[in-house]
């Protein structure tokens, strides 16, 4: 059965990518919310925020990229949920194919769709004055962290996609994820926040991820924050993957 895993996954990924390219609006909506936030923060609030040196757009881009991913994966949950409802999921499962390929196809599609949205957002940020002296290595490191974060959130998205009862239930989980960057170092330095809020901001996953990406773009040495960021991403990925696997098996038995 596993002999066809890669071929089957490729065919199924091709299929769900058609879903993405045929509803281009999902890519645009995924990119438009973070772009609107970026405009708001840079041109409205940005002047009043004391963030240190450099352009504010460069300061807040890492946080915006994470918001882009959080809004992108709600479509992953939506697409998976629609498949479950439509019965096509059962058709695939009743066929002699590698079953896990059905989920992996959604995960890979999520990754590709998010990378497209991220590219658009970075492009707009460049137009708005984002500049970085980061070399190829630093860019690859940023891409690696974003891919890891996308995979972690995508596997979270798989859980409501498999278990939700309604469409809105399937995608609603993304909102808290989208707001997590607001209570982090993404838009303002955490040291102006009151005690408990600051504690939360310093100890939630977004802050070390944002700081690491910011350091990579700003050509600062990345500190221990990198390992905290990677630990969060891998930790979330593993837990979400296991829970998704359990929900999946429960769903098909």
């Amino acid at each position: 059965m596993t002999t066809h895993f890669f071929g089957d996954t490729a065919v199924l990924t091709g299929r769900s990518l058609k879903h993405v390219t045929r509803s281009v609006d999902t890519i645009i909506t995924t990119a438009i919310v973070p772009i609107a936030m970026m405009l708001m923060f840079v041109y409205v609030f940005g002047g009043a925020i004391r963030h240190g040196s450099g352009a504010y757009v460069s300061y807040m881009l890492p946080g915006i990229l994470l918001i882009t991913i959080a809004s992108g994966i709600s479509y992953t949950a939506f697409r998976l949920f629609t498949d479950m409802q439509a019965g096509i999921f059962e058709r695939f499962h009743s066929m002699p194919i590698a079953r896990s390929g059905v989920l992996w196809a959604h995960v890979l599609t999520s990754l590709i769709a998010n990378l497209i949205s991220l590219t658009i957002v970075v492009g707009v940020a460049l137009l708005m004055g984002f500049r970085t002296g980061a070399g190829v290595g630093a860019w690859l490191a940023v891409a690696g962290i974003l891919i890891l974060f996308t995979l972690a959130l995508t596997w979270i998205a798989v859980i409501p996609g498999l278990t939700a009862n309604t469409v809105s239930g399937a995608s609603a989980f993304a909102y808290p994820l989208m707001f997590l960057p607001f209570v982090s170092s993404a838009f303002v330095p955490t040291d102006t926040m009151p005690g408990p809020v600051r504690w939360f901001a310093d100890h939630q996953p977004v802050t070390p991820i944002v700081n690491t990406i910011r350091d990579l773009f700003g050509r600062h040495p990345v500190g221990a924050g990198l390992w905290t960021a990677l630990a969060w991403c891998v930790g979330i990925l593993v837990v979400a993957y296991v829970v998704a696997g359990i929900s999946y098996r429960r769903r098909i038995s």
Partner: protein
């Protein structure tokens, strides 16, 4: 299929289902809503695991050789399983690819012609009518020529014309040597199509035979009184006792009986 049992929590849906389907021909599994027909089909098609009993499809055990079983059948589920965003042709090509066939495009074109969908081939399925969707759905289930086909309520929600179309397809399949297992709640459908009929009621097969054999179950007095052959509908309600409404209560009430 021997001694098949399946419960959802407290509700014992199947409580020892036995039947055999011979190769070739059409076998109809008849029952009211909630009788467990779909559960039987889902277990046969490896989508659901049985609690007890042995089930073999095309000689392969469902629990132990699920991969072999999946190579032996195709399923047309109760709800059309087509991809709305793809075109009709893309749907067929997709399934042909997943079945690892040599020329997916040619397979798709042949089926489009056979199901009179060539004109609509490049349109998205979301623009199709209910009948066209069902035709595409069944066409997708024929790809790879499996020896067995499961059809779970294939005509539910179709207009009479589309229903007759589906019937014609099913008959053609059986003539070509495919074994068809069909579930339905439409008695005339079973009457029209099936070589053998089994009635599933309260988790058990209560009658199993040809239409003539089922007819003979009714007392001849009934025949004299009505002055016509009893329809399958008469037989159905007579053998299940009443109108089948106490289904769920009956199932829950007896659940402790033979544990």
């Amino acid at each position: 299929m021997q001694g098949l049992e399946k419960s959802y929590k407290e509700l014992r849906v199947l409580r020892g289902v036995d039947f055999d389907v011979e190769r070739g021909g059409i076998f109809a599994l008849l029952g009211s809503n909630g009788a467990g027909k779909t559960t039987v089909v889902r277990i046969l098609s490896t989508l659901l695991k049985a609690d007890a009993g042995t089930v073999t499809v095309n000689g392969f055990d469902v629990a132990r050789q699920p991969a072999k079983v999946r190579e032996s059948f195709n399923l047309t589920g109760q709800f059309t399983a087509v991809d709305e965003i793809l075109t009709g042709r893309e749907n067929l090509v997709l399934v042909a690819r997943l079945r690892h066939l040599k020329d997916p495009g040619a397979v798709a074109d042949t089926l489009l012609r056979r199901f009179a969908l060539t004109d609509a081939a490049t349109r998205r399925v979301s623009t199709y009518s209910g009948g066209m969707r069902r035709r595409l759905d069944i066409a997708m289930s024929l790809i790879g020529d499996p020896p067995v086909i499961f059809l779970d309520e294939p005509t539910t929600g179709l207009d009479p014309q589309a229903r007759v179309e589906v019937w014609r397809t099913v008959k053609k399949l059986a003539e070509d040597g495919t074994t068809v297992l069909l579930t339905t709640q439409y008695l005339n459908e079973a009457e029209e199509l099936a070589d053998r009929i089994a009635i599933l009621h309260e988790g058990r097969i209560i009658v199993d035979g040809t239409l003539d054999e089922l007819r003979r179950l009714l007392p001849p007095a009934e025949v004299e009184y009505v002055e016509k052959q009893p329809t399958l509908e008469d037989v159905f309600f007579a053998v299940i006792g009443e109108n089948g409404k106490h289904d769920e209560h009956g199932a829950a009430g007896e659940s402790g009986e033979d544990r």
